[in-house]
């Protein structure tokens, strides 16, 4: 049923954007976390995480059939393929009194930039809303199809 596929595609968009919001929330919550993990007996601050998105195929069979016939298949929406850690260096501040300060008195803090996170959050929210709109359109089309022959 193709119309249900439309709903499923929008649902993948909703799921992916919800995950993006979750990851952004985690980043903001950990913006000041100095002790995220213990590496070689030393505390490493929290690294900012990002979601990597990629396209999802409707079904492997449909994709191979279409490509064998030289045609383009309608896709199956989006999926989160990976959650990556931002490898930008940690900002350092001079604070010798801090318990996590190194021998020279510098403290490494997490590389989360709250402004960037807010921008990502807005982007995820807008994409989520767009997927809701597409889903409602599919739904009302389906309701209309049920009226045929009444």
């Amino acid at each position: 049923m193709s119309l249900f596929n439309g709903l499923n595609i929008s649902a993948t968009g909703l799921t992916a954007n919800r995950l993006r919001m979750d990851v952004v929330s985690s980043n903001i919550a950990n913006a000041n976390t100095n002790r995220a993990e213990l590496v070689d007996g030393e505390w490493v601050p929290y690294r900012r995480k990002t979601v990597e998105l990629s396209t999802a195929d409707a079904s492997p069979f449909a994709k191979h059939l279409s490509s064998a016939m030289g045609q383009t298949a309608a896709g199956g929406g989006v999926k989160a393929s990976a959650i990556r850690e931002d490898q930008t260096p940690f900002p350092v501040t001079y604070n010798p009194d801090h318990p996590d300060a190194d021998a020279e008195g510098y403290v490494r803090t997490s590389n989360v930039d709250p402004i960037q996170e807010m921008v990502d959050l807005m982007s995820a929210t807008r994409s989520y809303e767009a997927n809701v709109t597409a889903m409602n359109a599919s739904k009302s089309m389906f309701m209309k199809a049920l009226e045929i022959g009444k």
Binding site: S10, L53, S54, G70, N131, A134, S138
Partner: protein, 130 residues
């Protein structure tokens, strides 16, 4: 005399094409933040032409002769590789997608109304105009 006129089949084809269009635009909207995603489009006219062309039959004098194949035509779904909207290589134009979604929905409703009209006139004939 055919009870169901061929226009009903045409409209059925129009509805299923409209459904495909809905899927493709939903896919574009879902992938609005996917890096290097290129937007897809459905060529409505092409799908309708292919649907009517596929009714052409080959003249076969032997059972082993092949039928005409309508499968290997141009793809109804095309990918737009030429533009870029964002630095990550994505070219989904959200305003365009939303407009197409609304247009497609109205179109679907219009065709559904027309099918209903056809059926109700048929049933009026069956009931002897009552």
């Amino acid at each position: 005399m055919n009870l169901f006129p061929s226009s009903i089949q045409k409209m059925e084809q129009a509805l299923s094409t409209s459904t495909l269009k809905q899927r493709v635009h939903a896919d574009n909207i879902a992938n609005v933040d996917t890096a290097n995603y290129k937007s897809k489009q459905v060529n409505f006219q092409q799908v309708m032409e292919q649907a009517s062309a596929s009714r052409m039959q080959s003249y076969r004098t032997n059972a082993q002769h092949m039928e005409f194949q309508s499968g290997r035509g141009a793809s109804p779904v095309t990918v737009n590789h030429n533009t870029t909207m964002t630095p990550n290589g994505n070219n989904v134009d959200m305003d365009f997608e939303m407009a197409e979604l609304a247009k497609n929905q109205l179109w679907y409703n219009a065709v559904t109304e027309r099918i209903n009209g056809k059926f109700s006139s048929l049933s009026s004939v069956i009931n002897g105009g009552r």
